[in-house]
């Protein structure tokens, strides 16, 4: 090792130690301030609050919940809502994304032009503006239950939500329960609140515009020669797409789609803006009720890091399987 490179390593070692010491000092300083501030405000520390009764309502949830349940369960209920929302949006936006990608690639100028306008206008405006627009549209412009819109048989749309027929298990057999006009509101069937409809519609449209572009660029990344060669072999268009183009396009599509799905989970926190009780909404309420901001934030950070790592691990495994099938 030459003298100059030895000097370089020595300097780099000192530099690293200084940087580490600076970060540790910063953390200790922040922590001491926090301990001092919390003590002077009389706020408890620790995770004991998780066992106490939450005593705040959650307007709707996938998992059963009552205000007498614990904070821990309230957080789990919020997480359940986040997962429900993200899964639903991921599935819907992938399906619509495939459709829009095909529409934008088509030679039909009407289809490709309209898709381009949709994609560009959705991608170039903030999601939060779109969400507030949809939520206001549902709350203010839809009629009340008495003059409900009835776009399809059994489907009712009012400013109190969307009512859909839904299969129900009753008396040992499956029934299709349809909403019926009750005294004050609809009864039976599946009820989706305006908050849920707004966040699902808004987030789906936003994610679709991204998914469509990812899928389109993936398909366009397959060299034209592949199409021509497959046609020369006499493959019909449908099988050509399924057997030749899609496997190659998927290799380009999957990595950006992975981050797109993680983005959906992250963007689903905007549910807070329209008032759908997802995990960030429940955490914010918990912090408000208990004052234990550090613990609440720690739980939130932990949950998101776990979701992120889990999602990227699953999709990386899928990607590895896909990439290993060399043709």
């Amino acid at each position: 090792m030459s003298r100059s490179s030895r000097r370089y390593f020595a300097r780099s070692f000192v530099l690293q130690l200084v940087a580490l010491a600076a970060v540790i000092a910063l953390v200790i300083w922040l922590a001491t301030n926090a301990v001092h501030n919390l003590a002077s405000r009389g706020i408890a520390t620790g995770f004991d609050f998780l066992d106490r009764a939450a005593r705040f309502p959650i307007s709707e949830s996938l998992l059963p919940y009552t205000p007498s349940d614990s904070f821990a369960w309230a957080l789990a209920v919020g997480l359940g809502n986040t997962i429900l929302l993200s899964m639903l949006v991921a599935i819907l936006s992938t399906a619509f994304g495939v459709l829009l990608a095909q529409a934008r690639r088509s030679h039909n100028p009407l289809a490709s032009g309209l898709t381009a306008i949709f994609v560009e206008s959705v991608r170039n405006t903030p999601l939060i503006v779109q969400l507030l627009f949809f939520y206001s549209a549902l709350i203010f412009s839809l009629p009340g239950p008495h003059a409900a819109l009835n776009p399809a048989p059994g489907v009712f749309l009012t400013n109190r939500g969307l009512y859909l027929p839904w299969p129900m298990f009753d008396h040992g057999r499956w029934l299709l329960s349809s909403p019926i006009t009750g005294h004050f509101n609809f009864e039976g069937g599946l009820v989706l609140s305006p908050e849920f409809v707004a966040i699902v519609v808004g987030l789906t449209l936003y994610s679709t515009s991204y998914a469509a572009e990812i899928i389109r660029s993936g398909i366009e990344a397959v060299p034209l020669g592949q199409w021509e060669a497959a046609r020369a072999l006499g493959l019909p268009e449908r099988r050509l797409f399924r057997l030749v183009i899609m496997p190659q396009a998927l290799r380009v599509i999957v990595p950006p789609m992975t981050s797109q799905y993680i983005n959906i989970v992250k963007n689903s926190t905007l549910a807070l803006v329209v008032g759908y009780p997802d995990i960030s909404f429940v955490t914010a309420t918990t912090i408000n009720q208990t004052g234990q901001a550090i613990e609440g934030v720690a739980i939130l950070v932990l949950i998101f890091l776990v979701i992120n790592f889990a999602a990227s691990a699953v999709l990386n495994a899928f990607n590895r399987r896909l990439a290993s099938r060399v043709r």
Partner: protein, 370 residues
């Protein structure tokens, strides 16, 4: 060299060939695509029918029945879009709760920042002088907005609002985030393990968290973690979260650029006797940033769109001011018109930057083809 004698001459190009027209693109004329098959024809008919059904409603709402003049009473009586609301509330939406008498200052800041941004667009203007102009411009904007200086009335950040907040947050988070991003990207690629792991930790945690949560964390944790008696306003809290966000995302883009520079470049610079710092400053960074300019501009679009989220920490940015304007009980809350107006402003900025990014990309590829 072959002597040009005899029959060989016949094969040697003596004069340049005349330019030939490019071969015709194998594209269909636009109208041929409309009915190019069963599926395409069906799509055309469906879309045309839907458009024919929706367009009259939209036109009558927005234009024919639109209310352009008058007050709340006219909007309540009419059936169309209440554009009069935007004329009446426009200044409030654009400048928020900034004291109306001092509004010229907010206008001056918006004009100055827009002018600076437009001036910076042509690559010929990317000079040291432009950089200095930006730094001076940003500092002056903050001073003009805040006042208590040159006889200007002091306006606390809690009274700032509208478009100036959106623009200032964007510009400040980029100005602070970009140098930090360079540091982070270099540390992440450095052989020094402690620096590398600290950089990876910061970038991955920030990228793993939704920005909304980061804003929320900044809003609740910063006041707790700072010494007693030290207050931090909402603007600074939001700015801290946005700076972390842009630093982490820009760092990942820059890392891509650094990875794309062949090691031979740094080795050649070392062979020429350049110091490590000089190699970085004059050889590696300019090329790395140049390679990822389009991606960097796209990140700018993301950051601008994200400034809309600051309404959750109680800042009166463009969107939040629009929402506040809608709560006026005198008017019938024309939310569609108002949000369309806000969306249009964001669209103009973001679409412009996306197109600019495309322009940079073509320009870069042209350089490669040469």
């Amino acid at each position: 060299m072959i002597a040009a004698t005899g029959p060989v001459e016949a094969f040697v190009q003596s004069a340049p060939l005349p330019p030939r027209p490019a071969p015709a693109a194998p594209r269909m004329a636009w109208h041929e695509g409309l009915f190019a098959g069963l599926a395409s024809s069906a799509a055309t008919v469906t879309i045309a029918l839907l458009l024919a059904m929706a367009a009259p409603h939209l036109l009558s709402w927005a234009v024919v029945n639109g209310i352009w003049h008058g007050g709340p009473a006219a909007c309540r009586a009419g059936e169309g879009a209440c554009w009069a609301f935007l004329t009446a509330k426009g200044p409030q939406i654009l400048f928020g709760i900034y004291p109306p008498g001092e509004r010229w200052r907010a206008i001056a800041v918006v004009v100055a920042l827009t002018a600076l941004a437009l001036w910076t667009l042509p690559p010929a203007h990317w000079t040291r002088r432009t950089l200095i102009a930006w730094i001076v411009g940003i500092l002056l904007s903050l001073l003009v907005m805040g006042g208590a200086w040159l006889g200007l009335e002091p306006v606390p950040t809690s009274a700032w609002g509208g478009l100036p907040i959106t623009l200032l947050l964007t510009v400040l988070s980029l100005a602070i985030g970009f140098p930090a991003a360079i540091m982070l990207a270099l540390c992440r690629r450095s052989p020094a393990p402690i620096l590398r792991w600290m950089s990876i930790g910061f970038i991955e945690i920030v990228r793993g968290l939704p920005l909304l949560s980061m804003l929320f964390i900044a809003a609740v944790l910063l006041p707790i973690m700072l010494p007693e008696g030290f207050t931090i306003d909402n603007f600074t809290r939001a700015l801290a979260a946005l700076c972390c966000y842009s630093a982490a995302y820009l760092a990942e883009v820059l890392r891509g650029g650094l990875q794309a520079i062949p090691p031979g470049q740094a080795e050649a610079a070392a062979a020429l006797g350049l110091q490590r710092w000089q190699t970085l400053r004059f050889i590696v960074l300019p090329q790395a940033i140049g390679k990822v300019l389009p991606a960097l501009t796209n990140t700018v679009v993301v950051i601008i769109k994200n400034t809309g989220l600051v309404l959750v920490v109680g800042l009166f940015d463009l969107l939040s001011s629009a929402r506040a304007a809608l709560t006026d009980p005198d008017w019938p809350a024309p939310f569609a018109e108002t949000f369309a107006f806000v969306a249009l402003i964001y669209f103009a900025i973001c679409f412009g930057i996306s197109r600019y990014s495309l322009f940079l990309e073509t320009r870069m590829n042209m350089g490669h083809r040469r």
